[in-house]
Structures are given as C-alpha cells and as structure tokens.
C-alpha cells in the first residue's frame, strides 16, 4: 500500500516506478536476497540511468 | 386561443399534456414544427428548462411562441440555475405575458449535463418555489416585500412526484409538502407498472390535486433495460420488456407506441388518474400516433 504510494511519487517526477520493489526477506534467506538483487539489476539495466544528473561532489 | 390549462383541469376531463424541449442554439424550425403538431391535440404543452442540465434556449420565450401559435404553455422552472430573485422575476415576467402555468422542479445536478464546471444555484427547492408563487399571489415577494399596486398574479401551480421511488416514504413525505405548499396539479415521473400506480393513486386520492401519469415512449427493449438500470424511479416490468423485445424487426417503435397508447387508454377507461403527461423525448412527432392508439385523437 505504501510501496504503491511511493511508486506513484516516483512516477510523478518521471522516474519509472518499476525501479522500486518490496521484497520480504529475513537475514537467513541469502539465496532469496541474491535473486532479488539480480532481478533489480536487470530492471536497472533495462531502464538505463535515470534522468537525475547529480553534480560531482 | 387555447383554453386555459386550469379550466381543463377543473372540467374533470381526462387531461393530456406533452412536452417540447427547446434546442441548443437558435435553429427553432423543428421545435416550431412540434409546437404546430401538438398544440391542438393537448390541453397543455410543457417547455423543459435546460433539461438534464444541458444548456438550451430558455423556457419563457418558448412558452410565448407556443402562446402565439395558439397553444397553452406550461413553463417548467427548475431551481438549478436561478436564485430566488431570478426565479421571482421570471414568474412575474411570465404572468404579464399571460403565461400562468408553472411546473416547479428542483432540477438535475449540474455535473450530469454539458457545463460540468458551472456553479449550481439551488437557492430554493421545488417546495419553496411553490410557496414563492403562493406568496406572489397574495401580494408579497419571497422576502416579504409588498408588490406594487393592486394587481396580483395567479398561477396554475404544478409539481412532480416519482411513484416508483425507492425508498418511497421520503418521496411521499415530500409529495405532501408540495401539496401543502400549493401544488394544484402533479405530473408524475414515467410509470409502466399499472398495479403499482394504482396503489400509489389509492394513497394520493386523499389530496386535492389533479394527477397526470407520466408516459415515456419506449423505443426498444434496450431502452427499457437502460432506464431500469440508470434512471432513478423508473421501473419497466419484465412483461413489457419482453413485449418490446418480441416486436418484429424494425417495428419496435410501433410496439412502443402501442404500449403507450394502451396504458393511456387503461388509465382513462378505469379512471385511475386525472390525465397523462406524454414525454416522447426526441420523438415528439409520434405523440399524435400515441394519442390515436389510445383512442384520444
């Protein structure tokens, strides 16, 4: 419910809502964590960089 | 010159009224044709007031056109677009032109029409509008100010009721308030179930008002089903829907006319009510056929 809301906030500023996803994991679920990370890496690769241009520190 | 509507009501005859919907714009040829077609066949011709909250020509000038054509107009006045000042001005203006029959309505809400961002007025409601007319007749405006001079308007005041409203009790409570406020004639929302209507009339007969059953021409089974699902207070019973559906291809309208005519004939022959108000929305040209079907032309 709040994840959906936050996806909406991202969409409002032109950031693809798929970049955000909620996974329910415990600290002992290492394989599931790996899968989740890999899934989101794929999403990030597919979508490419966001439009946000952070100035170099 | 048409006989005054009030006279027709008081004569005890089975009164017939129909309606004319002014167009959006100034092309009034079709409307004039309908007026010509209907003016001598009915005891009164209602003119709708921005019906369904769709902007159209205002009622008063159209009532005048009906009068000039020799018909008897009934001015429908809703409370949606005018405050109490404008309503009273219009009533007085109507009266000085000889337009005395007024049907008092609250009015559909603004957002169901075609100017959804317009400011809804609803300064008065149909009950208070009837009281306003009564007040003017007694020489006082709504704020209690005396009218100038000796002359006083008199109106033939009407209101509506929905006999198939669900729940019915609040509707009947309001109906009684309208009568208390001075309603002399009532035109009902469309009815199709005569048994239900007879029950309503049994209750309504205790009041001193003339009641005209609303008749809306069915043009298809689809229309009947649509109204059942979407229009408050309209109930088309299954047997009528089946009858419409069973009509030969291309003959649905004729079937609708037959049904309307039959209902009117029954209402008259069995003395169920004092008359009918025919709403042939978009099919005003068929009203004479309905009357013929009812044996009333």
């Amino acid at each position: 419910m709040w994840v959906g809301y936050t996806k909406g906030l991202l969409k409002e500023i032109g950031i693809e809502p798929e970049r955000l996803k909620m996974f329910n994991l415990s600290s002992s679920m290492a394989p599931a964590f790996k899968d989740a990370v890999e899934e989101m890496i794929e999403v990030a690769k597919k979508l490419g960089p966001t439009k946000i241009q952070k100035k170099a520190a | 010159m048409a006989k005054a509507f009030k006279e027709a009501l008081e004569s005890g005859k089975f009164v017939i009224t129909a309606e004319v919907g002014p167009p959006k714009g100034v092309d009034i040829e079709e409307m004039k044709h309908h007026i010509e077609l209907l003016k001598d066949k009915v005891d009164g011709l209602n003119v709708t007031d921005n019906q369904s909250s769709v902007m159209r020509i205002s009622t008063l000038p159209v009532c005048r056109l009906i009068q000039e054509a020799g018909g008897e107009p009934i001015l429908q006045m809703t409370c949606r677009d005018k405050n109490r000042l404008a309503l009273q001005s219009e009533l007085l203006g109507a009266y000085i032109l000889g337009i005395k029959n007024v049907l008092s309505l609250t009015g559909d809400y603004v957002t169901v029409g075609d100017h959804v961002d317009a400011k809804p007025v609803f300064d008065l409601d149909s009950v208070l509008l009837l009281e306003t007319m009564k007040g003017l007749e007694e020489g006082k405006d709504f704020a209690g100010n005396e009218l100038k001079g000796e002359a006083r308007p008199t109106f033939c005041k009407g209101a509506i009721v929905t006999p198939e409203a669900n729940p019915i009790e609040p509707q009947l409570l309001k109906f009684e308030k309208k009568i208390k406020a001075g309603a002399e004639f009532i035109q009902t929302q469309a009815i199709y179930d005569l048994d239900n209507f007879k029950k309503f009339m049994k209750y309504a007969r205790q009041f001193d008002v003339k009641i005209m059953a609303g008749i809306v021409l069915l043009v298809s089974a689809g229309m009947a089903k649509y109204m059942n699902a979407n229009v408050p207070g309209i109930f088309v019973p299954k047997d009528l829907i089946d009858e419409m559906a069973g009509a030969e291809k291309g003959k649905a309208l004729a079937k609708g006319i037959e049904i309307a005519g039959r209902m009117i004939k029954t209402l008259k022959d069995e003395n169920i009510c004092d008359g009918v108000h025919i709403m042939a929305i978009g099919k005003e040209g068929k009203v004479p056929d309905i009357l013929a079907e009812a044996g009333l032309s």
């Binding site: - | 609250t106 169901v112 008065l124 409601d125």
Partner: protein, 222 residues
Amino acid sequence: MIVAERKPFEEIKAMIEGCKKILVVGCGECVSVCMAGGEKEVQILASQLRLAFEEEGKELEAGETTLVRQCDKEYLEKIKDNIDDYDAVISMACGAGVQFLAEMYDQKPVYPALNTQFIGVAEREGEWSERCRACSDCVLAYTGGICPVAICAKGLLNGPCGGTNDGKCELSKEKDCAWTLIYNRLDKLGKLDNIRKIFPAKKYSVQTTPGRRIHEAFKEKE
C-alpha cells in the same frame, strides 16, 4: 478538521520555476492528520522537488520545517530569522495558513502546495469525508445530526429530489442520498415531524465573505 490534498506535482514545480532556494513549510494540525501537509509530506515534497530539478540539470536547495500550525502568528514567527535566505516559500498548510504566512512575510512569494477541500472527519485510516460547509446557520437539530448542506449535492432543505435512487445520490452510486439518511435517522428517533414542516430557505446573508467573528469578551464595550 480541515481536509486537503496535495496539488499535482507538476503544478507545484511550475510555481517555483527559476528558484534556487525554497523553504517548504508544513503544518502540524489538520493537514498532518489528513496526511497532506505534515512533516512527512514536507520531506516527500522537498525530496521530489530536488530530484525533479536535478533531472533537468538544475540545482534546488529545499529547506524543510513544520510549524505547530500556520493559522496562528505565534507559531509563524518561528521562521522569521531564516526566511530571507530563500527565494520563495511553499506552504503545505490549508488555504488559511498559506494566506497568514504570506501576510506575515509579504516580502517573499508564498505558494500553496495543497488544495483545501472541506471540513470533515476521518472515516477510517486514509479516508476523510466532508461533513460541514460552515454555513453559519446550523440545522443539525432538525435533521437528526445529518447535514443537508454538506451531504446533499444540491444542498436542499426540503429533500429528497427526484434523482434519489435506492438511498444513493443522483450523482453517483457511491454517494449517499442525504435525505434518505435524514429520513431514516429521524424515523429511528421518532422525529419525522421535523421534516414534515416546510423548511424555510437558507439565509445566505449570514455567510458574509469574508467571514469574521469577534468573541463577545473582546468586543469594545461602552
């Protein structure tokens, strides 16, 4: 309480076009309760604005603060010392708070982040409904505690209208018909006679624009 909702993001962003430093000011009362303009919403809006500006290669410094409320000068004073650091202020208060802030700090553009909607109640978490139109002529004593001005779409005092359908309003099946509710409530209380009388018309003259009330104790006396 007053219920409001945040304006569409693009509308707010357009208000501060050209600004480099803005202050986003929240309000700790009504708009916090209806999750529109409280501390959390200030954080969210400020973050969104920063990110959105960065997407266009522009920088935006967005300060964040939340006042107890913005309809009281005592609490508005809190930003007195640093407001001049900013190009503009976005107030996340209701319309009253925005105006009061703008009045006190009239040297700065003050922009509204919310659309103020109504006086209402919390039906459940995350859902608020209108109950009062502040009409200065309360009739709740006659209608069994149900307001025809706020709940009836047409604001009728002699309802229902012909559009009522199965207890629902002509406008939408989601809206209750106020007069059916009133009828049922009065029936339950045994007070249907209240609405058998013809209710007089609303007195709009009591709703002065703008309204003003001075407590008796504070009026000038001879």
